[in-house]
Amino acid sequence: MSLSDTTAPDAVLTIENGSVAIGGRPVLRHINLSVRVGDFLALMGANGSGKSTLVRAMTGLRPLAGGHITMFGSELSSFHAWHRVGFVPQRSTAASGVPTSVWETVASGRLTRRRLLHPLLPKDRRAIREALEVVGLEDRARDGISTLSGGQQQRVLIARALAGEPELFFLDEPTAGVDLPNQQALATALSTLKERGATVVLVAHELGPLAPLVDRAVVMRDGRIAYDGSPLADHEVHGPLFDDGHTHHHHVEVATRDHTPHVASPLDIERNEESR
């Protein structure tokens, strides 16, 4: 990947030659990725391919063993403007040991913008209410979160990230274990975000109803980026091109296809030139 690609001027997040090691074993290697303003990026790949680890590295939850991450123009280790980032972690449930209302969970997402020991201001309450409206759960605000279905809880977690009014969203498998109607509700919420100009990085096995929103796919394989370009259909991600089980049949092809310049590159150059 060329250097100009990773240092795109409109990049909100850039990883240069990033690597992540867990317990001394290199897991992610040679990660070069640039997320640009307004991208709706789907991070795809098989179980254990490193897509969740990559998101954890991008959000600072996992330290890099090598390379650099630049977030909104500053090195991740010295990045403090966390109110610009919204994170939806991978969760099977949003419940904890003490009863919690939907509203309280969403309100905790507002912390990035609240000052210490200050009460909730009217603008905070407005943001919380709007976040609940975007995911269509405003009528469940006072309910205990444990009374909601898994899909609804996932929408609450998205509302929590929304409440901080961030520009860049990370969603780790928001559709895992969620039924189709709830996936559609989720897609509606995310399309609202996209219309507002938010940048979204989404980890997903299968896109389902989210597919029309995605305008860039990054496929991970064995800890490396195997594909970065225009969206792929769900079956293509695990197709012969990226399926280890078939590589012995198409060994030469795989080697060459891996290095095919991705579709995004020419567009990037144009875009870069426009902004110059």
Binding site: T59, F87, L111, T112, R114
Partner: protein
């Protein structure tokens, strides 16, 4: 009633009120993190602290606080480093604390009765300086626990989310551990180190039978805590000649036993009232004859279903349709 105007009793009542309010504040965060037994772990460690105080002739309260805070931070560090999970870390401290305490007390040659004061509480022997210390520390715990509740809530609810929100996770984790250690030593004179965790956890367990939000749980558990500690003290002093510490804990447990079935009933009724999904019935399934007319007072719960209500009748859903009922 004259006993209530005695100096030692007034001191005991003040200590009971402050302890009862402060302990459940920290307890709420511990329950939220599913670390209910952390108070016990710290309590056991504090035994060593008390023994050190008795050995060196300094105030056991201060040595207990110092050792309890140290123990709490060690638990947190072990947990964070991931060498052992939370409950193993607690277990290690449990054993070390109680063994150290008993050993040091025997070295110091103190009578067992002196240590027992701290193990099972002796609220009626509390001194004037101890009352001041109790009040100050309890107020500190309440101020921090309530004042920083948005941050502490977020960290306990979802640590990874809180970290990406820019919160200093380690600071808040250690803060909760230190608050727990301070509460343990505050409650040590009231209910004793062996029962200390009960005053932190039982009111929370009671409150959450009836509450649906975190804030309501926090407030209700504080009220329940003060009811139990003050009520237990009065009961022990006025009604029966029994030690106040265990009385307070048993009263708190009695409150739990009373609210448990009530909470289960309320949750069941609440769940029953949730409207049915607006899905059309599979077929027009008419009921032949119905023994009575469903209505407000027929005894069968009415649950909204789209534009009508379904009556729950022996595991069936009866929907009024003209002059007969349909199975929905």
């Amino acid at each position: 009633m004259d006993i209530l105007t005695l100096d030692f009793m007034i001191r005991a009542m003040i200590a009971a009120v402050f302890t009862g309010l402060a302990a459940p504040v920290v307890g709420t965060y511990l329950v939220q993190r599913r670390l209910s037994l952390m108070g016990d772990g710290i309590g056991h460690v504090a035994v060593t602290g008390v023994a050190l105080g008795l050995l060196t002739g300094t105030s056991p309260t201060w040595t207990a606080i110092a050792v309890a805070i140290l123990g709490a931070i060690i638990i947190e560090v072990i947990r964070e480093q991931g060498h052992a999970n939370g409950d193993v870390a607690l277990a290690l401290l449990f054993y070390g604390g109680i063994a150290g305490g008993v050993l040091i007390t025997s070295v110091a040659g103190q009578s067992a009765a002196r240590l027992q004061e701290y193990l099972f509480g002796s609220i009626t022997t509390i001194s004037v300086p101890d009352v001041w210390i109790t009040m100050a520390l309890a107020a500190l715990v309440i101020l921090i626990g309530v004042g920083l509740s948005p941050q502490l809530f977020a960290v306990a609810q979802d640590q990874e989310f809180a970290q990406v929100a820019g919160l200093n996770i380690r600071f808040y984790n250690v803060l909760v551990a230190v608050l727990a250690a301070v509460s343990v030593t505050v409650a040590m004179r009231t209910v004793g180190l062996l029962l200390v965790s009960a005053l932190m956890i039982v009111p929370v367990a009671t409150a959450q039978q009836l509450t649906r939000s975190f804030r309501a749980t926090l407030v209700a558990s504080m009220l329940l805590g003060v009811t139990a500690s003050f009520g237990g003290l009065l009961f022990a002093a006025l009604v029966a000649d029994v030690p106040p510490g265990p009385t307070i804990v048993l009263l708190a447990l009695a409150c739990f036993l009373l609210t448990w079935p009530l909470g289960a009933l309320l949750r069941r009724r609440h769940r029953q009232k949730v409207p049915f999904a607006e899905i059309d019935p599979l077929a027009h399934d008419e009921i032949e004859e119905h023994p009575h007319e469903h209505g407000e007072n027929c005894g069968h719960p009415a649950v909204p279903h789209g534009d009508h209500v379904d009556y729950l009748h022996d595991g069936h859903r009866h929907a009024p349709h003209g002059i007969h009922y349909d199975e929905h």
